[in-house]
């Protein structure tokens, strides 16, 4: 029987503690469907990095807005995550997605987040519509990564 997609959407404030707690919760939820621990670890890291970007860049420091994480599970096929904010984000830091995200020099004390994300996923896109900035990533997953009941 063809499995239906499963979708979750979560929101929290663009603050480090709130985002980290949310990401840990999401990974816990997703672990009901995905059994490959490596993938769960990758999801944990990439969502943490995506949220950290929003916390750092999306809103003024004294007025954190909302971060939304939408997760779509396509059993037997893929996980699609969309991390969104309604701040300035990528408008201030436009990316050329025609090229791979470069890795900063080893001595750099910041700037590794997007590189990490781009290397943990199969597809990476940035969408901007109205005031909403979305980082959308897709990880393709074969059937062996999913729980038998997924």
């Amino acid at each position: 029987m063809k499995q239906q997609p499963v979708k979750f959407t979560f929101c929290t404030r663009a603050e480090a503690q709130a985002c980290r707690a949310l990401v840990k919760g999401i990974v816990q939820v997703v672990s009901q469907w995905i059994v490959r621990q490596q993938l769960l670890d990758d999801l944990d890291l990439l969502l943490t990095e995506a949220c950290a970007n929003a916390v750092r860049h999306a809103y003024p420091p004294d007025s954190p807005g909302c971060v939304e994480i939408a997760v779509k599970l396509l059993p037997g096929k893929a996980v699609v995550c969309s991390i969104s904010d309604w701040g300035e984000g990528f408008r201030q830091c436009p990316l050329d997605l025609q090229k791979p995200i470069p890795l900063c020099p080893p001595e750099a004390e910041s700037g590794r987040g997007l590189y990490i994300i781009s290397n943990l996923v199969d597809k990476f896109a940035i969408l901007q519509k109205d005031n909403k900035n979305t980082l959308r990533v897709t990880i393709n997953l074969g059937s062996e990564a999913w729980a038998a009941s997924a």
């Binding site: 890291l45 943490t48 990490i116």
Partner: protein, 114 residues
């Protein structure tokens, strides 16, 4: 949220980090480290990461920052017993060779002894 423990043995300063090393805690840990590094008299800083189950790019940036600061002063930093997640993340950003990473006490004694 975890914290830091500090112990000095001769010229070796041991810094134990407890808890996740992420954006949330990095600023506070950086402040504590700044004070330690200012007043400390040591040749080697051993950062014990065995109590760090998760590190992100903010945590990595902190380690790079401390490493750079110590190198500038002729001191050495060692990362001791990083978790599997920390090793994978450091590998992902191609920093496994940038740091001196020690996995066992025997290795540590060999490195600091030399």
């Amino acid at each position: 949220m975890g914290g830091l423990s500090v112990e000095q043995q001769g010229d070796i300063l041991h810094l134990g980090v407890d808890g996740e090393l992420t954006q949330q805690v990095v600023p506070a840990i950086r402040k504590q480290c700044d004070k330690l590094l200012e007043i400390g008299v040591f040749t080697h800083l051993v950062v014990d990461l065995s109590g760090v189950p998760f590190i992100d790019s903010s945590g990595i940036g902190l380690l790079v920052s401390i490493n750079s600061r110590l190198k500038g002063g002729g001191k050495h930093m060692l990362l001791y017993r990083p978790s599997d997640q920390a090793v994978k993340t450091l590998d992902l950003v191609q920093l496994l060779d940038f740091f001196t990473i020690i996995h066992t006490e025997d290795e540590l004694l060999t490195v600091v002894g030399s």
